[in-house]
Amino acid sequence: MRAATWEMRSFLGASAAIAVAFVLALAYLASSTGVATAGYEAQRLQATRDELRRRNTLLELELAKLDAPARIDSEAKRLGLVRVPFIPVVQAEPLTARK
């Protein structure tokens, strides 16, 4: 009985140690795989971010082109608009005095 108990204990001890080692190995593998996957995901996101930044710069440049005074000037001419030779400015002082 004593011998059986000792053998049983040894068996259980060894089994537990193997199980713990197995679980630890699995955990390590899972963690390594997780880090690698996260790394690839980070890289993909980085590439997406860079592409979005690039497209944003292209859009900003497009906007600058459309906002260019020279383009607006030529569009206005194309639409038949003409430049006002003189813009009358209402002086504030006489209006204030009248009030």
């Binding site: 880090v35 900003e60 000037d73 400015v89």
Partner: protein
């Protein structure tokens, strides 16, 4: 077994033992002595050592509008061995790229393992090509400097060459600020060329170039360039330049040269068009220099605005007779009228009273003969000969702007001194730049006092009278006070004489004259219209002044 003798067994055992020892020794060698070399070779297969390029900074106008920016565009390459039907691929690409298919096919059949088809494609084109999905084609991204306003402010901006180095203008002067510093990345990569997150990774981040903000105003610049181009074309002039600066601090609001070029298409540009005439064109300025002579006269007390002399249409000095324009005699003439009528004899009268030393000192005090110090590449000095080299007649000719040279920017700085109360300011084109350390602002710099505030005030009144009552009436702006002066100068030939019928026409002025906010100088080379182009120069000044005043929302100071 019985047939194998003990000796044979021993021999076989010894052989295996020796082999084991040799193999073990070899393993020990590879694991110890040659370990480094093996690791290096293994590392070389999976580790990539690459440069992370720094992004070149953006250039903006004073309101934040983009004038130049760098963006990565896709370049199309081919691995010809993987392109199945080369003629069909060349035809498709020819249509999409808007090019002849023959040179594309030539590249595909050149025998190269890897060839560029076209670099830095417009985004729409590269997207269209990507959709076609031709085997053996691919894209890599390459940086490209883009200028959304095309040739606007080309000379002030400069350009970036194929090596990414800025040349001319702001791109050249501020190249180190704009360029930044490249970073490096050492990383292990998997067979799909993805970096391994748990592997080796050594990175030095790039320091991107600073974003630069100019003093140039896109609206004023557009107006200046439009009017300059129209003036040059209308008068069939050889070239022209225009400068608009704020006299209070020297900030350049507009600066243009014509003919011009497109900074993004430098390979196709005419070299003559790349010269920035505003800062690198020294020419004889002519009568606009009478203002400097008059400033010296008033400052030293030899004349006042009301001092009168008898104008006979000429003046004798140094044994030479110097004539008024068209030889016209004006009779009794005040100093104010000298500027109104642009009388050469009057300028000689003041010059003679001053003498060479004081006139030469005044010319140099206003900044002629030395660079203004503007923060742009390629500025010229202009030429003012040392006094020891002056002949007696030079006192007379220098008094009305002959025998010396000036750039349009130097003239603008001199007129700015008159407009701001007598102080020479250093002109500048970069207002600030922003990098990782924060914002760096350019501090406006007063260089020296050229004349007293009283003299500057008297000159402003005289120049306003020149526009209101004199030859410069073409520069009047309804509703605003304007001061200014015309100048028509002959062009010297290589043999020291002047070329017949070729002139350089200038108008320099400030507005609104009661509290000058802008100084503008317009120069036209060899205009072909009547009156040597002065009318065109004045009308160009007026148009730019009207646009600028309207845009700056400056209240009129007169009844129109």
């Amino acid at each position: 077994m019985a047939g194998i003798s003990a000796t044979r067994l021993r021999t076989i055992f010894a052989l295996f033992a020796v082999l084991s020892i040799v193999l073990s020794a070899r393993v020990v060698y590879w694991q110890t002595v040659a370990r480094g070399g093996l690791l290096e070779r293994a590392r070389g297969q999976v580790v990539s050592d690459e440069v992370i390029p720094a992004q070149r900074g953006t250039i903006r106008d004073r309101s934040g509008a983009i004038l130049a920016a760098t963006v990565e565009l896709r370049s199309l390459y081919a691995i010809p061995s993987r392109v199945k039907d080369k003629p069909a691929a060349a035809r498709s690409l020819g249509v999409l790229l808007g090019r002849d298919a023959a040179p594309i096919l030539e590249r595909l059949t050149s025998g190269g393992e890897w060839v560029f088809i076209q670099r830095r494609l417009p985004e729409t084109t590269s997207e269209a090509i990507a959709k076609v999905r031709i085997d053996g084609l691919g894209f890599i991204k390459e940086p490209k400097r883009l200028y959304p306003n095309e040739d606007l402010a080309a000379h002030a901006l400069g350009f970036v060459n194929d090596d990414g180095v800025g040349q001319g203008g702001v791109e050249g002067w501020y190249d180190e600020v704009l360029r930044g510093v490249n970073g490096t990345l050492v990383v292990e990569r998997d067979p799909a060329d993805r970096s391994i997150a748990v592997g080796l990774r050594e990175a030095v981040a790039p320091r991107h170039g600073a974003d630069v903000t100019l003093t140039i105003d896109l609206v004023v610049q557009t107006s200046a360039e439009r009017e300059l181009r129209a003036a040059v074309e209308r008068d069939r002039a050889a070239s022209g330049a225009i400068v608009v600066i704020d006299p209070r601090d020297g900030a350049i609001r507009a600066m243009a040269s014509y003919p011009t070029f497109h900074p993004a298409g430098i390979a196709a540009a005419d070299p003559a068009s790349m010269r920035d005439r505003a800062i690198a064109w020294p020419y004889e300025p002519g009568s606009v220099m009478k203002v400097v002579t008059m400033a010296a006269g008033i400052e030293t007390g030899v004349v006042t605005p009301t001092t009168t002399y008898e104008d006979r249409g000429y003046a004798d000095i140094g044994g030479r007779r110097l004539l008024n324009a068209l030889g016209r005699a004006w009779g009794p003439t005040t100093m104010t009228q000298v500027l109104e009528r642009s009388a050469n004899a009057g300028a000689v009268f003041v010059g003679a009273k001053l003498g060479g030393q004081r006139l030469s000192d005044a010319i140099r005090a206003f900044g002629f003969g030395t660079r203004t110090g503007v923060d742009l590449a390629g500025e010229a000095n202009g030429l003012v000969r040392p006094l020891a080299e002056w002949y007696p007649v030079d006192v007379g000719t220098a008094a009305f702007g002959q025998g010396l040279t000036s750039t349009p920017l130097q003239l603008a700085v001199a007129y700015a001194a008159i407009a701001n109360g007598g102080v020479i300011v250093r002109p500048y084109v970069v207002a600030s730049w922003r990098d990782a350390d924060g914002e760096h602002r350019t501090a406006p710099a007063a260089v020296r006092r050229a004349v007293s505030a009283g003299t500057a005030s008297a000159l402003r009144d005289m120049l306003v009278s020149a526009v209101d009552n004199g030859l410069a009436q073409g520069a009047r702006v309804p509703g605003f006070s304007v001061g200014g002066k015309t100048g028509t100068a002959q062009i010297p030939s290589p043999d020291g004489r002047y070329i017949d019928d070729d002139y350089i026409s200038t108008f320099a002025g400030f507005f609104p004259a009661v509290d000058p906010t802008f100084v503008a100088v317009i120069v036209l080379e060899r205009p072909r219209s009547k009156l040597f182009g002065t009318v065109t120069a004045m009308s160009t000044f007026r148009a730019v002044a009207q646009d600028t005043l309207r845009y700056a929302r400056i209240q009129p100071d007169r009844k129109p």
